[in-house]
């Protein structure tokens, strides 16, 4: 119910929202949880395993129970914490993990079966009959498990990622964080203050009290105003720091648009990468529940949450509230309620010496041992000594003390320390370099202590940054923190430790009983701590129960590790911008538009897009187009854009020597104006890449790499140069992007080339010349990847499109035209030229018959490793050609005709195939055991997947013009 005169909500701005189909009213500043509680809605969810009715437990992101779906136009967002989701006009939400309605969940039957669903029960059953696991048991388990649902539709929302840099990152804006930010900000340091909630102030907004003589919330507002006015301070609201990574890098999630109606281009969330040499962890502490029987009913909440709902949101979660706590601090919740006019039924304090100052019954030395109310709390049973009695109550506020929010300090494997006085883990100092925990996050529980430690940390950081700062602390409450640890209350019925995963004290004890005594075994066996809250409220309690069950102390029992993220982060936020070209850039050729104009399907070649083929009317499939293009090249002339090949400009007196070291063969003796084919090995002796290099000048070469290996070869060259010959007189740079390069191939290629050159060139095969085309300096290479007389013409990229269109027009007058990747592939297979289909990383020079290209006269990369015995000999599969009358396929395996088909009889495999219109047969390239000695043999090609079983002839891989007469024509 709403409490008049309380809360920081804006009562002038009412908003309407929906939950499970019903419309409710709230105010701006409300969370879904506070607004539902204001409307007396206590039942908001169902538990994970037993489908128990559940209500709001906390007021923060650690909420294990109140998880709902937020429904959008196209997608719903599952597992949204009602305690974090702000209400706005038109917000639509619904409950999740139920079969039927929230009130009558059919899966609640699980609760009655709970004796059989104890920890790890599924490891012991569902084994027979075997087939039933996948067909029956598992589908039932999967349907029952899980929490919220994804819609299955693409998430078309807008998300962003960003980087930020500062001197001091302050995480959390309670008293410690605000003080740290003020101190560092006043000293002129660049500060980022990140606050997870939708308002700055942390617990100051929930707890009242005074700082510097003014109400704490006012002090916070004043501090924020001062920070806001500082140009060196950036305030980041709704931003949870989710992970601590190496060298001062932090991940943080900002909820940018989740608290308002969707707007075009407005990101829903932003994932920040914040780099800060210094960071202050000031994110407070999390209150922990007490495990007593049936402690999970709607209406049972954390005491601090009750206080937050009252003071921050002006809501009392109950009309008659009972408090169960073991600390002095939590008693303030009752006092605040009473002051606000809410009835407090009783205070149950297990400490026998607990004081009694509140204007309500106080039962010292008592415990809650049971609760009532199916869909919401109606009463509790209290035991005091030998006596038990009932209290009618609709809200039980519980507090078992506080756990410092140490999570980020564990992200780099820091192990927290057990603090006996707090009965809690505190951060290991220096666990994250540069990060200092202060205030409650470090176990300093008073407001003054928070201010003081926040300032002290900031002063230290500021001084490390070489800046001066003043110490200046306001007065504040400095009461000592006193508690008597209470983890579990014995009684009849199940007592929950992990609300989110339905793990009870019995489960933990059973794990110990069955030998799962390590805390990691217990966690994994019971699933405690593995739910959406990652054990934020249950880890320490479960550890205590385990310690008790195994007869060890808590520190000896250990702790599990917290890992990023602190609070769950959507895949879309961390993957923001990753769709389509945001995942990997697209690279376009200058001929791209011209190819598309001719309706060529563009296909990916690495990051590039290249034309597959150029369809003509009357060609029903790619095959007809491809056959025509192949024949066109063989008979007249074809044009293809080959700009994607890597081009590296190499200069210097040692350029030739450098190439000799990179390539297996020699380039230092290459004639000026000549081009040579080169083979490059990896240092392990297997083939890295191949291509041609041209000598453009005495000390000037141009290397060509394959499209696929361009980046790899550049990196390799940088390594070889910098690691082994940095002092050589050689410099190189990629010019891949600088030149548009087109292949002109076919018997009429020369005629075409001469038609546009200012001075016709009679270039020998494997020659290169500078040419002028239409007033532009270009380069003409006489090289061929098709087996025909071929040229490659290169011009500065800006002229690429114009030249391509011009070449096509000229080719067409000669009966030629463009050809695409499909035809290019057929042409090279007919000629036995290899690509990375053949040199796939497991291939030696010997395998492709190029071992003679490894010069004996010089060292080169890979030379020695290539001599390893495993890379030689008849056991290796060697490159062969294959010829068949029927269709064959790449990926098929080869067998001797008449033998059984099995791995052990496997003779090799096929890497490339095509229908050859030139030869009039199916041709293939492949690798066959001892293949070079088996030319002429018949071999059986089997492709189970495509249903092919064909007898082929093993051939020399060059099918077309084996003497190379056309090339040299």
């Amino acid at each position: 119910m709403r409490v008049e005169g309380k809360g920081l909500i804006d009562r002038t701005k009412p908003v309407r929202f929906r939950f499970d189909g019903r419309e409710y009213a709230g105010y701006k500043g409300d969370t879904l949880a506070s607004a539902l509680l204001a409307n007396d809605v206590r039942l908001v969810g169902r538990s994970f395993k037993y489908h128990r009715p559940r209500g709001v437990l906390t007021a923060g992101s650690e909420e294990p129970n109140a998880l709902v779906e937020v429904v959008g136009a196209k997608n719903q967002t599952p597992n949204v914490r009602a305690t974090m989701q702000e209400v706005f006009e038109g917000l639509v939400t619904q409950s999740q993990n139920r079969m039927g309605s929230l009130r009558f969940d059919l899966l609640a039957v699980n609760d009655y079966l709970s004796p059989f669903l104890s920890a790890g029960f599924y490891y012991k059953t569902f084994m027979w009959p075997r087939a039933f696991w996948e067909k029956l048991y598992e589908p039932i388990i999967r349907r029952a498990a899980g929490l919220g649902s994804l819609s299955g539709a693409h998430d078309e929302g807008t998300y962003e990622k960003a980087f930020a840099f500062c001197d001091v990152l302050v995480i959390g804006s309670g008293p410690a964080g605000l003080m740290a930010a003020l101190t560092a900000g006043r000293a002129g340091a660049d500060v980022i203050l990140a606050e997870e909630s939708h308002a700055f102030g942390g617990r100051l907004l929930s707890e009242g009290g005074t700082i510097g003589g003014m109400p704490a919330a006012d002090w916070a507002a004043q501090a924020v105003a001062e920070l806001q006015a500082m140009p060196n301070v950036r305030l980041m609201l709704r931003t949870a720091v989710t992970g601590a990574y190496d060298h001062g890098t932090y991940g943080a999630l900002e909820r940018v648009g989740l608290h308002k109606p969707a707007r075009p281009n407005l990101p829903r969330e932003c994932f920040w990468r914040i780099v800060a040499p210094h960071a202050v962890l000031a994110c407070g502490a999390l209150e922990r529940p007490i495990a007593f029987p049936d402690n999970d009913r709607p209406g049972i909440m954390m005491a601090s949450a009750v206080r937050t709902y009252l003071n921050r949101y002006g809501v009392s979660p109950g009309k008659r509230v009972t408090l169960f706590t073991n600390t002095d601090a939590a008693r303030a919740t009752a006092r605040d309620l009473i002051a606000a006019g809410v009835q407090v039924a009783a205070i149950i304090d297990p400490r026998p010496d607990a004081f009694s100052v509140e204007d309500c019954p106080v039962h010292a030395g008592a415990e809650v041992i049971g609760t009532r109310g199916r869909l919401g709390l109606s009463g509790v049973t209290v035991r005091k000594g030998a006596e038990t009695f009932e209290i009618e109550t609709d809200c039980l506020a519980m507090s078992g003390g506080w756990n410092p929010t140490i999570h980020l300090t564990c992200h780099m494997n820091g192990r927290p320390r057990w603090n006996e006085e707090l009965a809690a883990f505190v951060p290991m100092e220096g666990a994250v370099p540069g990060l200092v925990a202060v205030g409650a996050a470090n176990g300093t529980m008073s407001t003054y202590g928070a201010l003081a430690t926040g300032q002290a940390a900031a002063l230290q950081m500021v001084s490390a940054l070489g800046r001066k700062a003043e110490a200046d602390l306001p007065e504040a409450e400095d009461a000592p923190y006193r508690l008597q640890a209470i983890w579990a209350v014995e009684g009849n019925g199940r007592a929950w430790l992990d609300f989110a995963n339905d793990v009870t004290t019995k489960d933990v004890k059973l794990a110990a009983q069955e030998g799962y005594r390590s805390v990691e075994h217990m966690k994994r066996y019971t699933t405690q701590g593995m739910a959406p809250d990652q054990g934020k409220s249950s880890n320490v309690g479960a550890l205590a129960v385990l310690a008790d069950a195994t007869g060890r102390g808590i520190p000896e029992t250990g702790t599990t590790t917290f890992r990023p993220p602190y609070t769950p982060v959507s895949v879309a936020a961390m993957g923001a911008g990753g769709r389509a070209e945001g995942f990997a850039p697209q690279r376009f050729l200058t001929s791209d538009q011209a190819s598309r104009d001719r309706h060529a399907p563009m296909i990916e070649a690495g990051l590039w897009y290249r034309p597959s083929y150029f369809p003509k009317p009357g060609e029903p499939t790619w095959r007809e187009a491809c056959d025509r293009e192949v024949t066109m090249v063989r008979q007249s002339v074809g044009i293809a854009d080959v700009s994607t090949l890597g081009k590296i400009d190499i200069q210097g007196k040692d350029a030739g020597r450098f190439l000799d070291f990179l390539y297996t063969n020699t380039f230092s003796n290459l004639g000026l104006g000549k081009v040579r084919y080169g083979l490059m090995l990896r240092e392990d002796g297997l083939v890295l890449d191949d291509g041609t290099s041209a000598r453009l000048g005495e000390n000037h070469y141009l290397m060509t790499t394959t499209t696929a290996a361009a980046g790899l070869v550049m990196r390799h060259m940088d390594f070889v140069h910098q690691a082994f010959c940095a002092d050589w007189d050689v410099r190189f740079i990629s010019v891949t992007e600088s030149w548009a390069q087109f292949a002109v191939a076919g018997p009429k290629a020369r005629a075409l080339v001469n038609s546009f050159l200012e001075t016709p060139v009679d270039l020998p095969f494997m020659g290169v010349a500078r040419v002028r085309i239409g007033g532009v300096d270009g380069r003409l290479f006489r090289i061929s990847f098709s087996g025909e007389e071929g040229y490659e013409l290169a011009v500065p990229t800006r002229y690429g499109e114009a030249l391509f269109r011009d070449l096509l027009a000229r080719a067409e007058t000669l009966g030629g035209g463009p050809y695409g990747m499909e035809a290019l592939n057929v042409l090279r297979i007919e000629k036995g030229f290899i690509t990375h289909s053949e040199i796939h990383g497991r291939i030696s020079a010997h395998d492709i018959g190029m071992e003679k290209m490894i010069s004996a006269k010089k060292d080169c990369i890979g030379k020695t490793a290539a001599t390893r015995p495993g890379l030689w000999g008849p056991d290796r599969e060697q490159l062969v050609g294959l010829k068949a009358a029927a269709q064959i396929s790449a990926g098929a395996h080869l067998f001797r005709p008449g033998t059984e088909i099995h791995r052990e009889t496997d003779q090799g495999y096929v890497t490339s195939v095509c229908w050859s219109p030139t030869v009039g047969a199916w041709l293939g390239l492949g690798f066959l055991k001892d293949g070079r000695a088996r030319l002429g043999e018949k071999i059986r090609l089997v492709d189970h997947l495509r249903g092919l079983d064909v007898i082929c002839e093993v051939c020399h891989p060059v099918f077309h013009d084996p003497e190379g007469e056309k090339l040299r024509a």
Binding site: T158, E160, A162, F163, F165, D190, Q228, R234, L235, M236, E254, V256, R263, P264, N265, L266, P267, R273, V275, G577, E581, G582, F583, A584, P585, Q586, R587, F588, L589, T590, L607, W608, D649, Q651, G652, D727, W728, D729, R731, I733, S734, V735, T736, E737, S738, W739, F756, I773, G774, G775, V776, V795, P796, T797, R798, Y799, G800, A802, L803, D806
Partner: protein, 181 residues
């Protein structure tokens, strides 16, 4: 004789959103100047005619609209003029290899902060400096020409992706505008 018409990757397009202008810039010739071992002196002599000297790492020098931009160890890009005769360095034409995007206006830093993993605070990246880094997944050379103005060089073939990335970032930054972050 073919008539070869020059074309830039983005046809010189530009876009203004939320006070930030993104445009394809024309910067003239770009040549890599890579100094050979022992070639520093003669390179310096050659550059004298332009009134420029090899820049320190991460910076560029500028005179009469001509820039010499550090791009690596013993390497700089000469931008805006054809290179003089130089001994002691390898000169390679890079004019067609890059597309230059200019990004200027109030929130230019906010736009870049969403794409570039660099510390963009003025003290860390002052005007007159250059960074070799990335725009999202693309390698880039980024010059800071004014407090809120940058020139960003990307590989020409990737210009369309670069534009797309920057345009959608501009849209998001504009949609957020009005909100102090």
């Amino acid at each position: 004789m073919p008539e070869l018409i020059a074309k830039s990757a983005l046809d010189g397009k530009s876009l203004t959103l939320g006070g930030v202008t993104l445009a394809e810039a024309t910067v003239g010739p770009i040549h890599s100047v890579a100094v050979f071992p022992g070639g520093a002196k003669s390179t310096a002599k050659g550059l004298k005619s332009l009134g420029l000297a090899m820049p320190a790492p991460n910076s560029f020098v500028e005179k009469d609209g001509v820039r010499l931009v550090w791009t690596g160890r013993d390497q700089a890009f000469l931008v805006g003029v054809m290179p003089p005769d130089l001994d002691g360095a390898a000169i390679t034409d890079q004019s067609d290899g890059w597309t230059v995007l200019s990004l200027a206006g109030g929130a230019a830093v906010d736009v870049l902060a969403r794409l570039v993993p660099l510390d963009l605070r003025p003290a860390a990246f002052p005007v007159g400096q250059v960074r070799r880094s990335q725009v999202n997944h693309m390698n880039a050379v980024i010059l800071r020409t004014a407090e809120a103005a940058f020139e960003i060089m990307v590989f020409r073939s990737m210009a369309r992706t670069a534009w797309h990335e920057m345009e959608s970032t501009l849209q998001m930054v504009a949609a957020r505008a009005g909100k102090k972050i």
